[in-house]
């Protein structure tokens, strides 16, 4: 870096940043504050907990909280494991590694809505899963999987879809992280006769820890945004937090309760970030 560029206390960088910062102030900070205003301000501008009471008293609320947490607990570990497997395969740099990486990255370009519809074609009553089961002679009649009587199947379908769709982003984080693991360490381990699993356990995984933690945190927070996947597969049979915000807004036209859900999601995201940073001692930089 040159002296010319860093010596002067220049106004230039600030001027370059101002448009983006102003924009974020208007379209990011303001709505965050507005969410609190909408959800806490009652008639005549007085503070009220009425909308939160309405939210918590709704029949879907407890299910939404439970499902959001449960689905996160089911989906995120699976994504981490599969992504780790994929990135270890990529990292061997075998002959087809770049093609393999490309294939695994495809879901990066697919929305939660489209992913939900894709898997609907598998799990729906006249769908591909029934075709396969019937073709193998395992079932005589098509089974209705996506029904409230088969909650486990509904859950399973959502988990499968989310794992299929969003493992790619974890994989990208881990592949990038693996590239930072120095090859010499592994070669040194070879010299000392370490077995592959020893290298994995003693060298690769510890060095990959920051990436794993970052992936864990990002995925946990994004899992709270779960919305279109669930609605395409279950309608409102498996209510989730973001889905409830959508229904309260689009079906009931109630900004206040919808905002209360937004605030709830925000608070939970904050708490999760905070907990992860405390528990895992992730560097704040890694969360980015």
């Amino acid at each position: 870096m040159s002296h010319m560029m860093i010596r002067r206390r220049s106004w230039v960088p600030y001027a370059l940043m101002v448009p983006a910062l102003l924009y974020l102030a208007v379209f990011f900070v303001y709505p965050l504050l507005e969410a609190f205003v909408l959800s806490f301000r009652g008639e005549g501008g007085r503070f009220t907990l009425e909308f939160f009471r309405q939210m918590a008293g709704d029949t879907y609320f407890r299910g939404a909280v439970r499902n959001s947490f449960l689905l996160t607990l089911l989906v995120v570990p699976l994504q981490l494991i599969i992504a780790l497997l994929i990135s270890l395969i990529v990292n061997t740099r075998f002959r087809a590694a770049s093609t393999f990486l490309y294939i695994c990255a495809i879901p990066l370009g697919i929305s939660d809505l489209a992913a939900g519809l894709i898997w609907l074609s598998v799990f729906t009553e006249r769908g591909y899963l029934n075709t396969i089961l019937g073709g193998l002679g395992l079932t005589a009649q098509p089974i209705t999987f996506l029904t409230p009587e088969r909650l486990d199947w509904l859950y399973g379908a959502i988990v499968v879809t989310e794992v299929w769709r969003a493992t790619a982003i974890v994989m990208v984080i881990l592949v990038a992280g693996l590239q930072l693991v120095p090859r010499d360490y592994l070669e040194a381990a070879d010299v000392f006769g370490a077995r592959p699993w020893q290298k994995l356990w003693r060298i690769t995984l510890p060095l990959l820890m920051p990436s794993l933690q970052a992936a864990l945190m990002i995925r946990t927070i994004l899992a709270l945004q779960l919305f279109a996947t669930v609605i395409t597969l279950s309608g409102r049979l498996v209510p989730v937090l973001a889905g409830e915000a959508y229904f309260w807004y689009s079906t009931y036209r109630n900004f206040h309760v919808a905002s209360a859900y937004a605030v709830l999601i925000m608070v939970i995201s904050f708490l999760i970030t905070f907990l992860y940073l405390r528990l895992l001692r992730t560097k704040a930089e890694a969360l980015a």
Binding site: E34, L85, S111
Partner: protein
């Protein structure tokens, strides 16, 4: 040695994962080209007895599809322009200057990624009704710009880091103004990276469901239209399958075209 023994295992694993990723895409493709009534028969073969454009055309000619596709493209276009116009200068500042508050600013910009559309959309709707932006494509593009901005700033800053400062200084010494040096030296070198950033923004905007659904009523983007058709209008299965397939095609094409830059791009966004 172990490496030799691990080899077949490696290929089997890679093949299994590839099949897991690709099979559902093939299946939805098959479903979109199965005749409509065949989708409801039982038993139904995986590969339809005859391929037909019927299902796909039924979706494509459904009310609003053509227009909302155009809307989606327009919103993505506006978002790309806004995100680059606002984000590239900030990315440049973060990559080229050391100034008080830089790390704090960088971190707070990154932190905005933690608050996605779900949280912003509802309160923004209220503001947009007041500002006459509700149910406008501009309004949707403005929200998508917020979502894209942190990524654009991070991607562009990493791009500008890759353009040697020495070249820029040389231009300055040779009498270029700062703006001139930027335009003549930095910009041409950064162009491919900026294009990559634009593509990332396109995918983000094209795929965004929540904010687009909540912020529009008549001027739907494609995901908003389909979401609404499913959420409230109970669209038939053939509409859903063809719609799902139609939404993923552009993303598949784009990801294929930029496959060489994939890791650089998405890799940068998560750093």
């Amino acid at each position: 040695m172990t490496a030799a023994r691990a080899k077949p295992l490696l290929w089997i694993g890679a093949a299994a994962v590839s099949a897991w990723v690709l099979a559902p895409i093939v299946l939805i493709g098959l479903a979109s080209f199965t005749p409509r009534d065949a989708l409801y028969t039982w038993p139904r073969p995986i590969i339809p007895e005859q391929f037909s454009l019927e299902t796909f055309l039924f979706f494509f000619r459904s009310h609003g599809v053509l227009r909302s596709t155009f809307n989606s493209l327009l919103v993505a276009g506006i978002t790309i322009v806004f995100a680059l116009a606002l984000g590239a200068p900030a990315g440049y500042a973060l990559s080229r200057f050391v100034f008080p508050g830089r790390d704090g600013l960088r971190l707070s910009i990154l932190a905005t990624k933690m608050f996605p559309a779900t949280i912003l959309a509802v309160p923004l709707t209220v503001a947009f009704i007041r500002w006459h932006l509700y149910d406008t494509l501009l309004g949707v593009a403005l929200v998508h710009t917020v979502l894209a901005l942190p990524f654009t700033i991070i991607i562009t800053s990493s791009i500008f880091v890759g353009v040697p400062a020495e070249l820029e200084e040389a231009a300055l010494t040779l009498g270029c103004s700062r703006a001139g040096a930027f335009r003549r030296v930095v910009l041409p070198m950064a162009l491919p990276g900026l294009a990559a950033s634009a593509i990332f923004t396109f995918v983000l905007s094209w795929n965004e469901v929540f904010a687009a659904t909540i912020l529009t009523l008549d001027n739907r983007t494609l995901p908003a239209l389909i979401m609404n058709a499913i959420g409230s209008a109970g669209a038939p299965l053939d509409y859903r399958f063809a719609g799902g397939f139609f939404m993923i095609v552009p993303a598949l094409v784009i990801i294929f075209l930029i496959r060489r830059y994939l890791m650089t791009m998405w890799g940068v966004t998560v750093r």
